[in-house]
């Protein structure tokens, strides 16, 4: 052997220098903090650019409002486009309402039953009946048609785009960062620019839904096609297939399971935002929930919330039964024909007998007692809810917010953020974050952002404190996992908005319900991913540790947790992103801060404000996301480089 430096030696040397440098930089940081804290007394960036962004946008918005009917941009593009979408919406909606009500449950049953799971098929079909039972059939059809048209458009754009990016690396390089960014942005932010071009009501709601639900369709199509074994593609080429033949006969069919998973995700994301689109006056189940809640008709709000859950569950089950069907056992021709005949028969009979609308007599009003129960709960459970409320407000929110907004000088905050970004990720992110934060401050969003950040931090701390221990427990203990898995599965399909309902029933409006809803929403993936990380630790490493006589505790903290750490941080990343999304959504129920401003901007048409808020939210989302990602990567055991 020649005495070349081994990679490990190099790493050690680097480690060494990094350590020693690290000490110096820490000192520099502390000095900088002290210095800046003394020099600058202001705790907020002066909003010098208050109108730099909102001004022109507001002008444009006014101009757009005045010229919507006359300017060629609108008359030749946006108006016809809107009209087409609106026509699609109306058609689907009237078709769904024209169908006898029992046809949909029947279709749901038949599609799921095809996989042989009659229990699941029955449950899903009954869930599909549920909205009718509580008198929400037509409202549900409105939501479904909005969703259907959005999903159709999203797939019509997303799948070809996914195919294209699978075949052309240049296209993939171009759209990947865009998709990344799209997935970190909380849903309501999409409403803001959409309002500017399309106004409010159903069409902009559809557009926002399309944009929001597009990424999984593109991503999983690309993933599916890239996952087709190279050899199968070459085999096809060797028979003289044209690229088109290979695409349609080999690549697309072989990628189908992945693409179907993408479609399923697209549908679920679309549902999530369609119920939020009530902000844009799109009607449907979301509106029902909000109205009921604001009128204190709790039972009805709950009923509508459950209808959303039912629809989510049905869609998820139908989607899965299509995505994970066993291809070696395709539905027999007889089954397909019988099913089609059954559906056709149901339609004919239903129409002939005039049974199209859900029968009035079936609309049970079991939810009045719920109102009473909830009122009782709110009054009598306050011995629990009050301390929780007080703890969150007085123990977490106020001290953190006061510290951030009253004590710390703004350059200090920027310095510290930049420093963390630099240490964890690199100079690029550090520069980006400093300038982005500066921008947020200059446009006058500093205080609001810090308030939202406070809420996010509070919710993240609580979520992580719950999700990680529970996730570790579930990862270790098969029985716990067996109990939790189906619950988490079910919870994960529920649109974010629904989580607000039960919380608001108990806590009334304010910041706390938003935070608790965020916690409820975020712990689901938090637990799941943590459990996954723990379970993925190789058995050999555990056994190796045990052969040295390690106690279970030592194995846990010495081997399992360190090895699972990257995954656990990925869980934290997911928690943060979901919390942020929820804290914004909580603006609908008095969560305040950026969320409230978003709602105000959208509903009152204050577009300039909307863009400012949007920028603040996006900046926060990107910094938090990149930071936690970088952290997770850092914890990854080093891989040998070439």
């Amino acid at each position: 052997m020649t005495d070349v430096l081994q990679p490990t030696d190099v790493a050690l040397v680097k480690e060494e220098t990094r350590r020693s440098r690290f000490g110096w930089w820490w000192l520099a940081l502390v000095a900088g903090v002290i210095l800046l804290q003394f020099l600058v007394t202001s705790t907020a960036v002066p909003p010098l650019w208050d109108t730099v962004i909102s001004g022109p946008i507001d002008q444009f918005a006014t101009w757009a409002r005045e010229n919507r009917q006359i300017h060629p941009i609108f008359t030749s593009f946006f108006i016809p486009f809107s009209a087409a979408v609106d026509w699609g919406l109306t058609t689907i909606e009237s078709f769904l309402k024209w169908l006898p009500w029992f046809v949909l449950p029947l279709v749901v049953f038949l599609v799921i039953f095809r996989t042989g799971n009659w229990k699941m098929a029955t449950v899903a079909a009954l869930a599909m009946v549920y909205p009718g039972l509580v008198g929400l059939w037509d409202t549900t059809m409105e939501t479904l048609s909005l969703m259907a048209i959005a999903v159709l458009i999203a797939l019509a754009i997303g799948i070809p785009l996914g195919v294209l990016s699978a075949r052309r690396p240049s296209v993939e390089r171009l759209i990947r960062p865009v998709l990344d960014a799209m997935q970190t942005i909380p849903a309501p932010v999409y409403f803001i620019p959409v309002v500017l071009f399309f106004g409010i009501r159903r069409v902009p709601a559809t557009i926002a839904t399309v944009i929001y639900s597009l990424p999984p369709a593109v991503r999983l199509t690309t993933l599916g096609i890239q996952g087709v074994p190279h050899q199968s593609v070459e085999a096809s080429d060797m028979f003289g297939s044209t690229p088109r033949q290979t695409l349609f006969k080999v690549q697309l069919p072989m990628a189908m399971p992945t693409i179907m998973t993408g479609i399923n995700q697209t549908i679920m994301m679309a549902l999530g935002i369609v119920v939020l689109a009530t902000l844009l006056g799109a009607g449907g189940l979301g509106q029902e929930v909000l109205e009921a809640l604001s009128q204190r008709r709790t039972g009805r709000g709950l009923a509508a919330g459950l209808a959303i859950v039912a629809v989510a569950m049905v869609l998820d089950r139908v989607g899965r039964s299509l995505a994970f069907a066993d291809r070696t056992r395709p539905a027999s021709r007889r089954y397909v024909i019988t099913s089609l005949l059954l559906v056709a028969g149901a339609i004919v009979v239903g129409r002939a007998m005039g049974w199209a609308t859900f029968p009035e007599v079936w609309e049970v009003s079991v939810f009045d007692p719920v109102d009473t129960a909830v009122r009782w709960g709110r009054d009598n459970l306050s011995f629990i809810t009050r301390p929780v409320n007080d703890f969150i407000v007085a123990g977490l929110l106020i001290p953190v917010r006061d510290f951030l907004t009253l004590t710390v000088a703004w350059p200090v905050l920027m310095l510290v953020t930049g420093f963390i970004c630099w240490r964890l990720k690199g100079v690029g992110l550090a520069i980006f974050s400093v300038f982005a934060l500066l921008l947020v401050g200059l446009i006058g969003m500093w205080a609001l952002s810090l308030e939202t950040l406070t809420q996010v931090l509070a919710a993240v701390v609580i979520s992580v404190a719950i999700a990680i221990p529970v996730g570790i427990w579930a990862g270790r203990n098969r029985r716990v996992d067996a109990v939790l898995a189906p619950i988490l599965d079910a919870l994960q399909t529920i649109p974010s908005f629904v989580f607000i309902i039960p919380v608001i029933l108990l806590f009334t409006v304010g910041q706390v319900p938003g935070i608790i809803a965020a916690v409820l929403y975020a712990i689901v993936p938090g637990i799941r991913i943590t459990a996954l990380g723990i379970r993925q630790v190789p058995e050999e490493s555990i056994e190796a540790s045990q052969t040295f006589g390690a106690t279970p505790r030592q194995t846990m903290f010495g081997v399992r947790i360190p090895l699972a750490a990257p995954t656990i941080i990925a869980a934290v990343n997911q928690v943060i992103m979901m919390v942020l999304a929820m804290v914004i959504i909580a603006g609908l129920v008095g969560g305040g801060a950026l969320g409230f401003e978003t709602v105000r901007a959208v509903t009152r048409g204050e577009t300039g404000l909307g863009f400012e808020v949007g920028i603040a939210i996006v900046v926060m989302a990107i910094i938090l996301d990149r930071l936690t990602n970088a952290w997770a990567v850092r914890l990854q055991p080093p891989t040998p480089s070439h």
Partner: protein, 340 residues
Amino acid sequence: MTGDVCLSVEHVWKVFGTRPDKAIDMVGRGATREEVHEATGCTVGVRDVSFDVGRGETFVVMGLSGSGKSTLIRCVSRLNEVTSGRVVLDGQDLTAMSDDQLRQVRRHKMSMVFQHFGLFPHRRVIDNAAYGLEIQGVDKDERYERATRVLEVVGLKGWEQSYPQQLSGGMQQRVGLARALTVDPEILFFDEPFSALDPLIRRDMQDELIRLQETLQRTIVFITHDFAEAIKLGDRIAIMKDGAFDQVGTATELITEPATDYVQEFTKEIPKAKVLTTAAVLKPGQGAPNGRTVRLDDTIEGLLPALLDDDSEIWVEDSDGRTVGVVDRQAVAKALEPDR
């Protein structure tokens, strides 16, 4: 090379990387693969390979992992573009063809069987077998009929409606074989088709291929890393090393006159008595047959009992029954001597 040439490969080079000219230049001045890689970042996959394959001949390329076999067969079938050189099939230059022309040739003249089968899991066995015809636009009835016939020939009768993943590995490769045969190609490429199978099944498949080839008489280029397989199947064998051919010849030629130590390494492991024929130990001459005769293409193994029985000469006849020479103990012993 006698008879009609089907495939002709002329000075083919394949260099992976961004500076192929520099790489070829370095090789020309005697640099090794590693040195080229070090200096240019390019990998020399195939280094100036030329050979002809006659119609109906089975040409085997044998070499260890990484020697460039796959790269060579992929250049010949134009799954990889050659860096320089020509591949001529039936008088047509494949390397100069447009995509469209190439597609036509692939549809009608060539097929390939892959190491990991490359089957289509979403298609039933029969639709896998009929794939090539489907691409050509043959109508459904006809392509099913032809596919059914070929599936029967390869021993898959009754499995037409199954999916590939429901079959064992050996049967899956039979599907791969059927898929290649259904289009009735002139030339078949096999890239280590049996390497993923366990030894017994591998032997079955080799026998199956020999049986098929007796009736089909196709031109075959067969890649393997198994010298025994090469000898069993190949009319001629090329030994490949570091992207170039060390030697091309019949099994007997390789065993009796290995050109390099590398070639000899492989032949050592081979039970020569099973491979060499009487022709390899023949002393030409005429004489009066004494009733002890063998055929020219009998293996030495077959004449050992007779030789051991009795030290007198054994006469050798060619396929027309004419006496062409004798074999004796000395000649056989010399041929079977372990380290030659």
